[in-house]
Symmetry: C2
Subunit: 103 residues, 2 copies
């Protein structure tokens, strides 16, 4: 599976971030064509009890490279990206990764 | 689900990293008690074609907080952690997160 990973550093106003993320941004992400799975991780700490470097991570999974490319160029992805830049453009970092999992 | 996330910045010798990671480190991680899922992501790029900030991410999932705490204090986790510090202590960052997914 290939995925887009969005990593958000801690927002200045976490409550406002959460509100926008949950009620506006995530519904836009769910519309991206070919999205097989969305996994949202909220950071709660680190093993050495330091402040986490990131606040939230979203992983958007696609079946293969063709589906990923089609998704990235879709109007729905552009809409989600535009929304993201408006509320979190200054704290977001992106990665593209290939994952394997085992139980 | 609660998980330990290990993020590795790009190693100076990727081939040596991969060899140790796959043949030595991952088998140690798989022994950690209560591990429900291990997902390993290898970074292949970024949307804007910059070099990815991270090389690899491992996500270790546990059923709940009690299972997580038991795992973190286990001899098997200590062995995996000791191994990690030896081959990647200078490039690894850790997060603890809670995740939700939907298909």
């Amino acid at each position: 599976m290939i995925k887009l990973i969005a990593m958000y550093r801690p927002p200045s106003d976490p409550a406002a971030f959460d509100e926008h993320y949950d009620s506006i941004h995530t519904p836009l992400v769910r519309k991206i064509p070919g999205l097989k799975k969305l996994e949202v991780t909220r950071m709660v700490g680190t093993p050495d009890r330091k402040a986490p470097a990131y606040y939230l991570m979203a992983q958007m999974y696609f079946e293969n490279n063709d589906a990923f490319k089609a998704a990235m160029t879709s109007p729905e992805n552009k809409a989600a990206g535009k929304d993201l830049m408006g509320f979190a453009g200054d704290i977001a970092e992106f990665l593209i990764g290939e994952s394997e999992e085992d139980g």
